[in-house]
């Protein structure tokens, strides 16, 4: 529940930034990319759609995507994402609680985009 709320808030912030935040708008440019954040059990998740300067979002963990950030559980996802640091993500990955499916660079790109709105 907490994770779903966090992802929903993130989607609002990204959507808003695509309209108002110049640095963010420049950063996402004309990229078309689908990034999924989900839990391993497929119970929680949200798809973030970047489409030539606009950002939209859909609830759910089973969407097709270019890259996915897969968390072992929603509690870990919530805690690490709330910290929002590279170190916290690194420690989660080192502990086997986070994996990336698809091209990891896209996730790095997404993380850098998120940093611009936080």
């Amino acid at each position: 529940m907490r994770l779903s709320l966090l992802l929903f808030i993130l989607s609002l912030k990204l959507r808003d930034a695509a309209l108002r935040n110049r640095a963010f708008k420049n950063y996402i440019g004309t990229v078309r990319l689908n990034i999924l954040i989900r839990t391993r059990d497929g119970k929680s998740g949200r798809l973030f759609v970047f489409d030539k300067g606009s950002v939209s979002s859909v609830k759910g963990a089973n969407h097709a995507c270019d890259a996915a950030l897969v968390w072992s559980d929603s509690g870990t996802a919530f805690t690490v994402m709330l910290k929002g640091t590279d170190e916290a993500s690194f420690q989660a990955a080192a502990a086997g609680k986070l994996t990336v499916e698809g091209m990891s660079y896209y996730i790095q790109w997404f993380n850098d985009a998120v940093k611009l709105v936080m």
Binding site: G29, R32, F90, V100, E101, G102, M103, S104, Y105
Partner: protein, 556 residues
């Protein structure tokens, strides 16, 4: 009194003083007497089909043979054709000696054949450039050229020799000749800097060592091995430094490739960088967080604080500096950090690691590289040329050889077309080793006529074309930037490159299915000929290098 032709002084000096046994060249009227000296002094010539390849092969010779590479080009277009190879050597710090013809001084400003001001063209991309005006001074100028090529930070040098001095005879007794070959001298870092660096390394909790071409140029396997054994620091060696310690070393991070570099640089508390420039591939140093301590080792003092102020800077040859540093270091143990780095990196590579094992149709480049590696093994030299192809090859190939995995097009010049000349030079320098070239289909076009050279000179390189039917990196960048519906000048289509090689007398084979890869490789190596396996791969695949490239050119 014995007389000697000016041109013969070149061969005499190269062979007797510098012990040069191979020169890369194309013939030309202006340099005829030099070519004749190679017969006289039994210097092997490798005559190519474009001077660009001669310069690139000589550059590569310096990497694989460990001695300065020499190329000889004729005046005018012979010279201009070599310029790209020289520029590439300049940005790669390769000790390349370029000897060039020149229009006759007698006819200067008369509109002589191939008359042009070569020195002004070449100055900005060489360490040293000169014209010799007197026959007796040819050995002296050659000695200067070699000294400049290898001293300090190595680099290309250029010496032009006009017919006025090459095609006349002088008494041999009147020609001063150096008594010994060029030596490489090293400098010693300040003792205080050494102690400061040791202090930082001894107190590190999450250190990372990253070595670049300076590590390879210094041939520092022994010193680096001692450093790593004592400190227990995980490491990654790049460019022509790769292979100074084998990729399979327990502390080498090449099993997690570029992701390991990125994560390591971002999470380490101390980064020790040796013989490595913090260039665009490392975000000009910005990839390293501000709080991280940086120890830099470089032969060029100007590099120490370039793009990032070092907490300790050690100026000197990497081997020499590491040798001086080791006695000051405590025995270290960083296995938990190394394990975390590996595990975290693998978490980001899940899909890539799965792709290696899974047959694909159309063939995925990651799978292609994995199949090549399985068949060819670690006792081989891998050369990679292309855009996306460089990423796939660099992260998928593994070798025990020095400079055993080199993405020649991934240098600072981003010089496509280097793969074929480098692979040829690798095979000539180390004939007992298998040489596998992975070439993008775009970059294949630049020097593919050198398959003729390979056939004439019996240089059995096996080239696998990763054929995505496009200038893939550009195509995928354009898809990100201007849109897939507006692609411009980046699609190539399917071309029978294997037939082209067959036509030149080599071995060729087309591969379209996963299960055909390994049998085709076996037949190619068994043929004993220069070979081209043209593998049609998935044109939709993008490597992580493409968005990095795309982002680096955004100006908003």
């Amino acid at each position: 009194m014995t007389q000697i032709l000016g041109g013969h002084l070149v061969g005499k000096y190269l062979k007797e003083i510098e012990k040069v046994d191979t020169v890369f060249c194309i013939s030309g009227g202006h340099i005829e007497s030099i070519l004749d000296s190679f017969t006289e002094y039994e210097i092997r010539t490798v005559d190519v089909r474009h001077e660009q390849a001669a310069a690139m092969m000589a550059h590569a010779w310096s990497v694989y043979a460990g001695t300065p590479g020499v190329c000889l080009v004729t005046a005018g277009p012979g010279f201009t054709n070599a310029v790209t190879g020289i520029a590439n050597a300049y940005l790669d710090n390769a000790p390349l000696v370029v000897l060039s013809g020149k229009h006759p001084l007698r006819d200067d400003l008369k509109g002589a054949l191939q008359e042009m001001n070569q020195i002004d063209v070449i100055k900005s991309i060489t360490k040293w450039a000169a014209t010799c005006y007197e026959t007796k001074r040819i050995p002296e100028y050659l000695s200067m050229a070699f000294r400049h090529a290898v001293s300090g930070r190595p680099g290309p040098v250029f010496l032009e020799l006009p017919p006025d001095i090459l095609n006349v005879r002088v008494p041999l007794a009147q020609v001063p000749m150096s008594a010994r070959p060029t030596r490489k001298f090293t400098v010693h870092p300040d003792d205080w800097d050494l102690r400061q660096a040791a202090d930082i390394i001894n107190n590190a909790r999450r250190p990372l060592f990253i070595g670049g071409s300076g590590v390879g140029l210094s041939r520092c396997s022994a010193a680096l091995g001692q450093f790593i054994d004592r400190t227990g620091i995980p490491f990654i060696l790049t460019n022509c430094g790769r292979g100074e310690l084998p990729d399979s070393h327990p502390l080498s991070l090449w099993d997690v490739g570029n992701v390991g570099i990125q994560l390591g640089m971002m999470q380490a508390d101390v980064v020790i960088a040796a013989g490595l420039r913090f260039n665009w591939l490392l975000q000009s140093g910005a990839i390293i967080p501000p709080a991280t301590k940086v120890v830099r080792i470089d032969i060029d003092p100007h590099e120490i604080d370039r793009n990032r102020t070092a907490d300790a800077g050690l100026v000197g040859d990497a081997s020499s500096v590491l040798g001086q540093l080791v006695p000051l270091l405590k025995r270290g143990e960083h296995s938990a950090w190394t394990r975390d780095l590996r595990t975290a990196s693998r978490a980001f590579l899940t899909s890539e690691l799965e792709l290696r094992e899974k047959p694909s149709n159309p063939i995925h480049p990651i799978r292609l590289v994995a199949q090549i590696q399985k068949f060819v093994g670690e006792d081989a030299i891998y050369v990679i040329d292309g855009g996306d192809t460089c990423y796939f090859g660099l992260t998928g190939f593994s070798s025990r050889e020095k400079a055993g995995v080199m993405a020649t097009a991934a240098g600072l010049l981003g010089c496509l077309g280097t793969g074929i000349p480098f692979a040829m030079a690798a095979k000539l320098a180390r004939p007992d080793k298998k040489v596998l070239l992975l070439n993008g289909d775009g970059s294949f076009g630049f020097n593919s006529m050198e398959f003729d050279t390979m056939v004439r000179r019996n240089i059995p390189v096996v080239c696998v074309v990763n054929n995505d039917q496009a200038w893939g990196m550009i195509k995928h960048s354009q898809e990100l930037s201007i849109g897939a519906e507006r692609l411009q000048c980046c699609e190539l289509g399917v071309r029978p490159y294997e037939k082209m090689v067959e036509g030149l007398g080599g071995y060729g084979e087309l591969v379209t299915r996963d299960e055909e890869i390994v049998p085709a490789l076996k037949r190619a190596f068994d043929s004993g000929k220069p070979a081209c396996i043209n593998v049609i791969t998935d044109p939709t695949v993008t490597s992580p290098a493409t968005p990095l490239f795309y982002q680096s050119l955004k100006m908003d």
